[in-house]
Symmetry: C2
Subunit: 173 residues, 2 copies
Amino acid sequence: MTTDNSNSSSTEFSDPIDAVRPDDLRLEKFLPYRLSVLSNRVSNAIADAYSARFDLTIPAWRVMAILGRFPNLSAADLVEQTAMDKVAISRAVSILIKNDYITRSEDLADRRRQVLNLSQLGRDVYDRIVPLAQQYENDLMGSLSAEERGQLDSIIEKLMTRAQDWANRGLID
Amino acid sequence: MTTDNSNSSSTEFSDPIDAVRPDDLRLEKFLPYRLSVLSNRVSNAIADAYSARFDLTIPAWRVMAILGRFPNLSAADLVEQTAMDKVAISRAVSILIKNDYITRSEDLADRRRQVLNLSQLGRDVYDRIVPLAQQYENDLMGSLSAEERGQLDSIIEKLMTRAQDWANRGLID
DNA sequence: TAGCAGTGGTTACAATTGAAACCAATTTTA
DNA sequence: TAAAATTGGTTTCAATTGTAACCACTGCTA
């Protein structure tokens, strides 16, 4: 990751013409906006699909998805893995326990921690949702060429890193 | 600033059971999930930036962004342009009017319609936010090569179309 | 021109979300 | 070894959001 233009402070002079009169913002080409619209469309469609079949919210499904792959995590581990909020995890977990989709057991070594796992029922549901999720993804990806899929992967990685920098270092000013 | 728990603790997660169950969902590679994380990180960072400076929510800012480019729109026109919800527009508009950022005048030809425009104050704010927004976008885009920027543009277009199809045709099943 | 379906926009209410306060267990420090 | 600080997790409350009902107006139809 290069650190060149990390902080374009006001000590730099920009092209006077740009500075005098800002161009109008073309929202329909503005990346943050497009990302938001795209992400919402995709997430909502998929959420509809599995909330109709199983009784799962998006955060709840995410928790299951992680636990399906990484057993024996605590809520804090889930926060780390998913970048979701602590409270969202707590609520998702409590719903999932109520539905008997996951189990919670005390960690005797540290009695604040609670170790989470898919229950048998949860595993069954998981096994049925995964193909569904993959079908959606395949369908989405199917609109791209193999080459584009590779490009997208690396582009997302780069954008993610940059956005992450914002959060860590504070905002641009 | 949005919390992004960068807890690089040395906690070791148990091995992914990937080897045992090759069909598990790899959430961290799952496009809908990645899009959502990316979009949230980007939007939150930017929203923080301008809500700190001006008193604007994301929907309110979007309304201003559109009105800055296309004067004399009604709320319904805004719905069409932004793909935002009717109610969200109505609320954003009422906040913006309260702040004197936009004006509302009756359309005498159709007395249900109300024609919206940036006020002088709103125009001033707009002119100050646009460069800020562009700075964020430039910074994001700066992490990509010119080639990648072109690729991203066309990829987003394709994905958007596909996701749109889902909404129109009903879900995959 | 009365009746009725559609449109523009707001309101009301319920569900979701986030921030901050909080409790309990653990670790640190002096 | 007793505070003090930290960590894991939940609860509370307020703000945001989505859905549905709603009012006012228009325009079509008969």
